[in-house]
């Protein structure tokens, strides 16, 4: 579904590279969390998958019918933008040229937000707006869902609901999920695989393997400080 070969990326077009020779293959139906420190290249990798930017060297192929994208709330969220939930979803439906108007309410129902059609996006809480953005991303029934730090600015209860829902659509509908995560608990509990990026290079591991790696790293850091 997603295949990266010898992928290099630098914002200046020359070394040092943000992504340094990435080789990655993601099959259909996986739930992959991309984790790593700030500046490790998580968001850059996601932007390459979404084709917002082009690789400096190497290539990345995304073979999907439709991608659903849930941006990081703080990235675009224009809290003063005068738009209601209905307007936001309906305009997106029109962009995708989807004729079925019922789809809008159906997707809102799936995330438990049917009563919010008239609400202004700017007046919603972090959890509520994240659910609406997931509903939007699911319009058109995508086979790949990409999320950028879905728990940022979201309360614990809503986080549980959101991750529970993501896990459900991954298992029941077979939607492949790629989620850039800073929430390591969520990554370990929900993912089928974890892609760990460090200094522009990465490797795939199971959540269990990653938990062990993380505890080892943490132990080393604690010992150094002790």
């Amino acid at each position: 579904m997603i295949k990266a070969e010898n992928l290099y990326f630098s914002y200046t077009g020359s070394p040092p590279y943000v992504l340094n020779g990435i080789n990655l293959e993601i099959g259909g139906g996986e739930y992959i969390s991309v984790v790593g420190e700030n500046g490790s290249g998580k968001s850059t990798l996601m932007r390459l998958i979404l084709k917002f930017i082009k690789p400096t060297r190497g290539n990345i192929i995304t073979q999907v019918q439709r991608i659903g994208y849930v941006p990081q709330k703080n990235d675009f969220s224009n809290s003063n933008f005068p738009i209601t939930v209905y307007e936001m979803l309906n305009s997106y439906r029109r962009l995708l040229k989807l004729k079925d108007k019922n789809m809008l309410m159906e997707k809102l129902g799936q995330v438990g937000m049917s009563d919010f059609t008239g609400a202004l996006m700017g007046n919603l809480s972090g959890g509520q707006s994240q659910k609406i953005l997931i509903a939007r991303a699911l319009m058109g029934n995508p086979d790949l869902l990409i999320l950028d730090e879905p728990s940022t600015g979201v309360d614990i209860r809503s986080q549980k609901e959101i991750y529970g829902f993501l896990k459900k659509i991954n298992k029941e509908n077979g939607i492949t999920i790629v989620s850039v995560e800073h929430n390591l608990d969520a990554a370990i509990s929900n993912s089928t695989l974890i892609y760990h990026l460090t200094d522009g290079q990465g490797h795939l591991c199971t959540p269990r393997q990653y938990a062990d790696e993380f505890l080892n790293m943490k132990g080393k850091v604690d010992n150094t400080h002790a």
């Binding site: 979404l50 990235d75 933008f81 997106y92 202004l120």
Partner: protein
């Protein structure tokens, strides 16, 4: 007053301006590009002077030169990604430099002052036809691109994923801004034109409604601003452009005060 032919022409043009300007302005304000309106209105002055110098219709000259400047802004955006405000300074320098050089050369075949301050006496039948055509094309294009424009303003990355050709629509939009400015300069004048683009939208935003209602209220405020400005400037014998800008600011202040009073009343009641 309404029996005068020039006043009927001015009202005809004003109604089109008051619909077109907020339709364009809402996207400019929400994308935080209000200053583009100001830059392009100065570009229109250069277009007017070129039109007057070459014995062509000044509004057509304004539309062509402003469209070129609008496209130039969009083009330069790729080169000055981190200094977008610099682009406006470059285009402003080019426009004002052109206008001042032509005006000071003494080669103009007519007076450009009426375009700076706005005038209701100078609206010709040809201007009215131009205004009608440009306004209709602009409003139709906006209706066709409505959902794309909303998404480019609200969430450009998601718009790209949904297949919106953001760059192309940005170029089309810059031509629409140029059309709105060219249509408005006769009545409103170059110097205060950006107020007609931004202020009715700023007032409507205070009402805290969704996009469609904010757009409708922007048009309502714009119609009130321009018609009040036109009638009162006639009786006070002042330039309509400046007075319309003053009325726009006054209505914005009234709405801000009313909003503050209402929220105070609500908090008193809820205690």
């Amino acid at each position: 007053m309404l029996s005068y032919g020039f006043m009927q022409n001015a009202i005809f043009v004003s109604i089109f301006i008051s619909i077109l300007c907020p339709c364009i302005g809402i996207f400019l304000v929400l994308r935080r590009y209000s200053m583009i309106g100001d830059t392009l209105s100065h570009a229109s002055l250069a277009g007017i002077t070129i039109g007057l110098m070459t014995n062509q219709n000044p509004i057509l000259g304004a539309f062509l030169f402003t469209s070129i400047c609008g496209a130039l802004i969009e083009f330069l955006r790729g080169y000055f990604k981190k200094y977008t405000d610099l682009i406006l300074t470059i285009v402003l320098s080019l426009s004002v430099g052109t206008a001042i050089t032509i005006i000071s050369s003494g080669k103009l075949h007519a007076n450009a002052d009426s375009f700076m301050f706005g005038s209701i006496l100078t609206v010709t039948r040809f201007d009215m036809v131009m205004v009608l055509i440009l306004s209709l094309i602009s409003v139709l294009t906006l209706i066709l691109l409505y959902h794309q424009m909303i998404y480019i303003a609200y969430d450009e990355e998601t718009a790209k994923i949904a297949g919106v050709r953001v760059r192309l629509i940005n170029y089309i939009f810059s031509i629409l801004v140029s059309a709105a400015i060219s249509v408005s300069i006769r009545i409103v004048g170059v110097l205060v034109l950006s107020s007609m683009i931004a202020l009715p939208v700023a007032t409507a935003l205070q009402l805290g409604k969704g996009f469609k209602l904010t757009l409708i209220f922007s048009i309502v405020f714009s119609v009130i601003d321009i018609l009040l400005g036109l009638f009162l400037s006639y009786y006070l014998n002042v330039a309509p452009g400046g007075f319309t800008a003053l009325i726009s600011v006054a209505i914005l202040i009234i709405v801000l005060i009313a909003k503050k009073l209402l929220s105070s009343l609500r908090s008193i009641r809820s205690r």
